[in-house]
Amino acid sequence: MDVHISSYLLVALILFCVGLFGALTKRNAIVVLLSIELMLNAVNINLVAFSKYGVNAAISGQIFTLFTMTVAAAEVAVGIAILISLYRNRDTVNVDEMDQLKD
């Protein structure tokens, strides 16, 4: 007997909610990026779970997960580059101090 699909969905849901809470409340931009990675990982768990237990169970879910990982890696690379450039110019990593467009 295998583990039921709803258990996987529950783990992914909790992970997504924790990531969402972190992304909305934390001030350090690196921690916000980490929280977004957690949310993407929760989605990946869902995709792989449905690729085994879904109505149209197929290998496509795992391939989509691989594409998601690639896009996430590219996003993190560009995000860290922007962050380093911003730190050099403004001397801060806190998201609530990045308000230059407001002035």
Binding site: V3, I14, L24, T25, L33, V48, S60, L66, A73, A74
Partner: protein, 168 residues
């Protein structure tokens, strides 16, 4: 209680525990370590779901590359940074309420779905997981695959241009 339940329980606990510790730690470096534990146990969950290739990619990309990239990001900015959280407590509570509402909505959705109506399909193909993925990628998903390589190249060039020192 079979062994797969036990393994699933352990991996799920580590996954959620890493995420929750990440939210609660004060030092940013500790947060990255906690989230690394979470990424590794997600790879374990993938193995449990029969997706070995995705699990190895998860370990290589997330636990390897992204965690190290985050550490580099921390070291190149404020390396002793600590997270003191949002200033206004009201906004934190408002966010918590919103996230809790989202959780309840999706949780009731999961609970009310009749999962036993879905027929359990046995894996009929005799190929291994890696072979299956390879055949599928290079027959049905060739164009997205090539587009992803272009995207990676653009991200590489963009990150270098963005992070290099500007000339006076």
């Amino acid at each position: 209680m079979s062994a797969s339940y036990l393994v699933f329980f352990l991996l799920g606990l580590l996954t959620i525990g890493g995420a929750v510790f990440m939210i609660n730690f004060k030092r940013v470096v500790h947060m990255v370590i906690a989230v690394g534990v979470s990424f590794l146990s997600i790879a374990g969950l993938f193995v449990l779901l029969g997706a070995e290739f995705v699990a190895i990619s998860q370990i290589l990309v997330y636990s390897g590359a992204i965690s190290i990239l985050m550490l580099f990001g921390i070291m190149l900015t404020k390396h002793d940074a600590s997270e003191e959280g949002s200033k206004s407590k009201g906004r934190v509570w408002l966010t918590f309420l919103g996230v809790a509402a989202l959780f309840v909505v999706i949780f009731t959705g999961i609970q009310n779905t009749n999962w036993s109506a879905i027929p359990v399909k046995e894996n009929t193909s005799s190929l291994s997981n890696v072979k299956e993925i390879g055949i599928e990628v290079f027959t049905k998903y060739v164009i997205p695959f090539e587009l992803v390589s272009v995207l990676l190249l653009v991200a590489l060039v963009g990150a270098i241009v963005m992070a290099k020192k500007e000339e006076e």
